[in-house]
Amino acid sequence: MKGHRQFKFSWTVFIVFFGLVSLLWAGLSLDPRLLPSSMISKPFPSFSLPNLNAQTDLVQTNDLKGKVGMVHIWATWCGICLQEHDALMEISKKSSFPMYGILYQDDPRDGRRWLQQNGDPYDLSILDQRGRLGLDLGVYGTPETFVIDAKGIIRYRAVGAMTMRRFEKELLPILTELKAGKR
């Protein structure tokens, strides 16, 4: 092969190779856990589940309506939930928005004991022992935090540990705008 053609050939190979590498690299950088929530802009699923702190009382979807707030999915078997809990307590104290907790696929006694030991940031705690509400929400795992508006429509979903910084950056802007009626 003459020098000129060999040069073009090498360049073609390099371009194809680097093209492939870039494509695969971009693919690796995507986090599959950050899939768009199919629940955004949909109403919070209808449910009727026991209040964690008074299991004979039933909490229903309408109990979450009326105020812009956050719904937090957690469990005692979830290590990250313990890690983030201090931040959750701080957020609950500092923010005026209600925070509802859903205990997911867990024993209610363990849940109550956990909250007693670590602090209870929730205005209301719901027991989802079978995990059906979690399923209806499209939950991948714990912890997850949803923002709901006064009509009970899901407006945002945050997957993974909640921190003060994430709250201020991701949740607070939406919560504030919803409350002001700007969304």
């Binding site: 599959p32 768009p36 290590g79 939930c81 997911y104 499209g138 795992g141």
Partner: protein, 136 residues
């Protein structure tokens, strides 16, 4: 160890993907059991995303399997159960990506790349044959 909770959290999540599967459900009719086994092979565990529901022991997988059992016994069809999960989790929950316009690149890319590679190899051999002096 300040970060023990991170270690525990990630460790627990990882272990939950690997541990032995829980007791299989009991069905009244054999046909339901066959459908169940088939269905759980075709859905992805969204926590341990390389595993199907039949392999994973993550809590979300348990919840999904329990729901499938519940719906099967309530008389729902395979399509209804599939639609139920896809509605909540998107196409991603199907273990085999469906053949839709937006998944065509996913299905065709490996074949196309294989052909390019094969073509490149053949071309290289043909054009460099003299230079390499391949002896018969």
């Amino acid at each position: 160890m300040r970060h023990i909770h991170w270690v525990l959290g990630i460790g627990l999540l990882w272990i939950s993907c690997l541990s032995m599967a829980s007791m299989p459900p009991v069905f009244e009719r054999h046909e339901q059991e066959v459908r169940y086994i088939n269905l759980i092979k075709n859905f992805r565990c969204v926590t341990c995303q390389n595993q199907s529901l039949s392999e994973s022991n993550a809590p979300v997988a348990e919840a999904m399997r329990a729901e499938i059992v519940h719906q099967l016994k309530a008389g729902h069809s395979d399509q209804e159960i599939t639609d139920f999960l896809v509605e909540r989790y998107g196409d991603f929950v199907l273990y085999r990506p469906p053949l839709k316009p937006h998944t065509l690149p996913l299905w065709l890319a490996p074949i196309v790349i294989a052909f390019i590679a094969l073509g490149g190899m053949i071309w290289t051999v043909i054009h460099f044959k003299e230079k390499w002096n391949v002896k018969e």
